[in-house]
Symmetry: C2
Subunit: 90 residues, 2 copies
Amino acid sequence: MPRVVVHVMPKPEILDPQGKAVAAALPRLGFEGIASVRQGKRFELEVEGEVTEQVLASLREAAETLLSNPVIEDVVSIDVEDAADGKARA
Amino acid sequence: MPRVVVHVMPKPEILDPQGKAVAAALPRLGFEGIASVRQGKRFELEVEGEVTEQVLASLREAAETLLSNPVIEDVVSIDVEDAADGKARA
């Protein structure tokens, strides 16, 4: 079953408290050299049947409306990958 | 400044209520043909200086311990990309 992976990140101008918390915790745990961290979301959608251009357009709309909040988030990328081989995870 | 992107997903055997909620909302909003949805996290870490093998190993450890909860989550991938062009490098 083909899989579509949608990446959503907070817009650059939006404060990201989760990312800030991670960035503050890293040096406390001994991990140095990280300037900043932003935390977003990754959705894996299993698609029934072929991922046609039409399906992808519909998924793009779903990503912009349901999977992300366009006021504060950007859809960074929408990748199609074959779940069978599990490869091309990006 | 190079960027390292860490992808974290709930383990397959773990119930994912956020993903389930999205999967249930999709057909209600007119998006059909999605069998299932899983929701995970995407972290973007801006690294100071070069991303050497040593830095990457340290980041891998941070991903396994701080960015993910190994009891319920898997680190799916750790990608290095150049923040300048936004393209994937490794």
